[in-house]
C-alpha cells in the first residue's frame, strides 16, 4: 500500500520531467515533434499510474469518460482542416477548463465539509475553470466566424458590467468558503459558476478576431492555473507542477506573441476593446499581410531558391552590404540565391549594378529579367527590396495603367513574395501596386537595411 504510493509518486516525478523536457524541445522547430511525443508519453504514464491509485475503486465512469473523450478528441483532431487549427486549440482548451471546474465540484460534492482555505481553492478552481471554458467557447466561435461576429462587439458600460459580475463572484466566494457545509453552499457555488461563465463571455467578446490567438494563449495559461488549483484541492503534486508549468509558460508565450505583433498584453486584453488590426483591407482587391523578420526568416530558411529584386529603395537605405551578407548566410543554408535586376530599377541606368558591385556581389549571381521570368514559377521566394514599379503586375494586366506594356520582373509568379519597403507609398511612376495585395505576398515593413539586418541576425542566431 505504502509502497504502491511511493511507486506512483515516482511515476509522477517522471511525468513531471517529461513535461519539462517536452516544453524545452517544443520551443525549437527541429525538436518540437519529439517534445510533444515525450510529454504525451508522460501524460499516459500519469493516467495509468492514477488508475492504480488505492482510492480508485469504481471504473465504470472512468472507462466511459475515457472512451467518449478519446473518440471525440481524436475525431476533432483529425477532422479539423489545417486552417482551423487555432480555434480547435481554443475549443480543446475550454474543455480542459471544464474538467478542472468539474473536479472542484466533485470534490465539493463528495466532501462538503472543507476547511476555509480549501473552500477558497475550490471556489478559485471553479472560477478560473469556468472563465476558461466560456472564454474559449467565444474565442472559438469568433475564429470559426460562426455564431458570433468576428469583429469586436462593443456596448456602452462594458467595463462596469464586467466589474459588477466580478464583484458578485467575489462575494459568492467569501460566502461559500467561510462555511462550505452550509445548506446554501451548493447554490452559492452554482451561482458563482454561472456568473463566471458570463464573465468569460464578457471578457472575450469585445476583442477582435485578429487578436484571438493571443486570447487563446492567455486562456491556455488560465487552464493551467485551474489545473494547478485543482491540484491543491486533491493535494496532487503532479497537477501542481504541470499546471504551474502551463500557467507560467502560457503567460510567457502570450507576452512573446504580443511582442511579435507589436502590441502589449494590456492593449490586447483591455485597451484592445475594439482595437483595429494593423493590416486593413484597402481599395485594391486582396488584403495586406504584414510579417515580422522572424517569420520572413522561416520562409527563407525553408526555401530552396530565392530571387532578390533590388530597387531604388535598396540604394536609398544603402543596404547593399547587408544584402550581400544575407545572400551569404542563405547560401550557407543551402539556398540558391540570385539577383534579378530590372533594366529601369533605381534612378539611373546601371544604378543597381553600382550598388551590387560595391558590395562585391559576383556577376554570376545576377540574372537578367528575360532570363529570370520564365523560371519564376519554380522560385520559392522572390524577395523585393525597395522596388515597386519594376514588379508591378499592372504592367501586364491592366490596360489602363500608365505602366501598361512595360516588361516587369514577374515576381508575383513566385511561390511566395516578400516585399521590403517602409510603407504603402507608391514608386516613381506614382501608381498603386496590386502585387502588395496578392495572397502570396507578405509585406516586411521598415527601412530596407534594418529589415535585412534583422533577417541576417535571425539566420545567425538560429545555429
Amino acid at each position: 500500500m505504502e509502497d504502491t504510493r511511493t511507486l506512483l509518486d515516482l511515476i509522477y516525478i517522471l511525468s513531471a520531467i517529461t513535461f519539462i523536457l517536452g516544453f524545452k524541445l517544443m520551443s525549437r522547430p527541429a525538436t518540437a515533434r519529439q517534445g510533444n511525443l515525450l510529454s504525451a508519453l508522460g501524460m499516459a504514464a500519469a493516467v495509468v499510474a492514477t488508475l492504480m491509485f488505492p482510492e480508485v475503486v469504481r471504473y465504470t465512469y472512468i472507462l466511459a469518460g475515457l472512451v467518449i473523450g478519446a473518440i471525440i478528441g481524436a475525431l476533432l483532431a483529425y477532422r479539423t482542416p489545417m486552417t482551423s487549427m487555432p480555434q480547435m486549440v481554443g475549443l480543446l482548451n475550454g474543455f480542459g477548463g471544464a474538467a478542472s471546474l468539474l473536479v472542484a465540484w466533485a470534490e465539493f460534492v463528495a466532501r462538503p465539509e472543507q476547511p476555509v482555505y480549501q473552500g477558497v481553492i475550490i471556489w478559485l478552481t471553479v472560477l478560473i475553470g469556468t472563465v476558461t471554458l466560456s472564454g474559449s467557447l467565444v474565442a472559438w466561435a469568433k475564429l470559426e466566424e460562426r455564431y458570433i461576429p468576428t469583429k469586436p462587439v462593443l456596448y456602452p458600460g462594458q467595463r462596469i458590467v464586467s466589474i459588477l459580475v466580478l464583484a458578485a463572484i467575489l462575494v459568492g466566494g467569501i460566502w461559500f468558503a467561510t462555511d462550505t457545509a452550509a445548506p446554501e453552499a451548493m447554490h452559492v457555488l452554482g451561482v458563482v459558476t454561472a456568473l463566471a461563465f458570463a464573465l468569460g463571455i464578457l471578457l472575450v467578446i469585445p476583442i477582435g478576431g485578429a487578436d484571438m490567438p493571443v486570447v487563446i494563449s492567455l486562456l491556455n495559461s488560465y487552464s493551467g492555473i485551474a489545473a494547478c488549483a485543482s491540484g491543491f484541492i486533491i493535494q496532487n503534486k503532479l497537477l501542481i507542477v504541470a499546471g504551474a508549468l502551463v500557467g507560467a509558460s502560457g503567460i510567457i508565450l502570450t507576452l512573446i506573441m504580443c511582442k511579435a505583433m507589436n502590441r502589449s498584453v494590456a492593449n490586447v486584453v483591455l485597451g484592445g476593446f475594439g482595437a483595429d488590426t494593423p493590416g486593413k483591407a484597402q481599395n485594391v482587391a486582396g488584403e495586406i499581410k504584414p510579417i515580422k523578420p522572424d517569420e520572413a526568416y522561416f520562409i527563407l530558411e525553408a526555401a530552396n531558391s530565392v530571387v532578390i529584386v533590388p530597387g531604388y529603395g535598396l540604394a536609398v537605405s544603402q543596404a547593399q552590404h547587408t544584402v550581400r551578407e544575407l545572400m551569404e548566410v542563405m547560401e550557407k543554408n543551402g539556398t540558391e540565391v540570385r539577383f534579378a535586376i530590372h533594366p529601369v530599377a533605381g534612378r539611373m541606368p546601371g544604378h543597381m549594378n553600382v550598388l551590387l558591385a560595391e558590395a562585391n556581389i559576383p556577376y554570376d549571381a545576377l540574372v537578367e529579367m528575360d532570363a529570370i521570368n520564365p523560371t519564376m514559377d519554380t522560385v520559392d521566394v522572390c524577395m523585393i527590396i525597395g522596388a515597386n514599379d519594376v514588379v508591378n503586375p499592372a504592367a501586364l494586366e491592366d490596360r489602363s495603367s500608365p505602366l501598361w506594356g512595360m516588361p516587369i520582373i514577374e515576381a508575383h509568379r513566385a511561390r511566395t513574395v516578400i516585399v521590403m519597403k517602409r510603407s504603402m507609398s507608391k514608386g516613381f511612376a506614382g501608381v498603386e501596386n496590386p502585387l502588395f495585395f496578392r495572397p502570396n505576398t507578405r509585406m516586411l515593413f521598415g527601412d530596407a537595411k534594418a529589415s535585412l539586418q534583422a533577417l541576417v541576425s535571425e539566420f545567425k542566431n538560429s545555429n
Binding site: 520551443s27 501524460m43 471504473y59 489545417m82 480543446l92 468539474l102
Partner: protein, 95 residues
C-alpha cells in the same frame, strides 16, 4: 500544514521553471506550442480520474468526475494529436 508548505515549495519551483523553460520561440511555433501546452494542462485528468473512481455513496461526485474525465480526455487526446499534426507540417525541406 506541512504538506501545504511542501506543495507551495513545489508550486514556486514549477512556476519559475515555467517562466524559464520558454524563452525565445519563433512565431512559427507559437500555435503548436500553445496547443502542446494546452494538452499538458489536460493533466487535470488525473484529478478527474480520482473523482470518477470514488466508491459507494459518492455517486454524485463520481458522476461529475466521469464527465470531467470525458472533458479532460478530449483535451488531452485532441490536444496531443492536433499538435502533432501541426508540427508534422513543418518538416524540414529535404536538402
Amino acid at each position: 500544514m506541512e504538506i501545504l508548505i511542501f506543495l507551495l515549495f513545489i508550486l514556486v519551483l514549477a512556476i519559475f521553471l515555467g517562466f524559464e523553460v520558454i524563452s525565445k520561440v519563433p512565431s512559427l511555433l507559437h500555435t503548436p506550442l500553445m496547443s502542446g501546452s494546452n494538452a499538458i494542462s489536460g493533466i487535470t485528468i488525473v484529478g478527474a480520474l480520482v473523482a470518477a473512481g470514488l466508491g459507494e455513496g459518492e455517486e454524485a461526485a463520481a458522476l461529475i468526475g466521469g464527465v470531467a474525465v470525458a472533458f479532460a480526455t478530449i483535451n488531452v487526446v485532441g490536444g496531443y494529436l492536433v499538435t502533432d499534426r501541426m508540427l508534422n507540417m513543418f518538416k524540414k525541406k529535404d536538402k
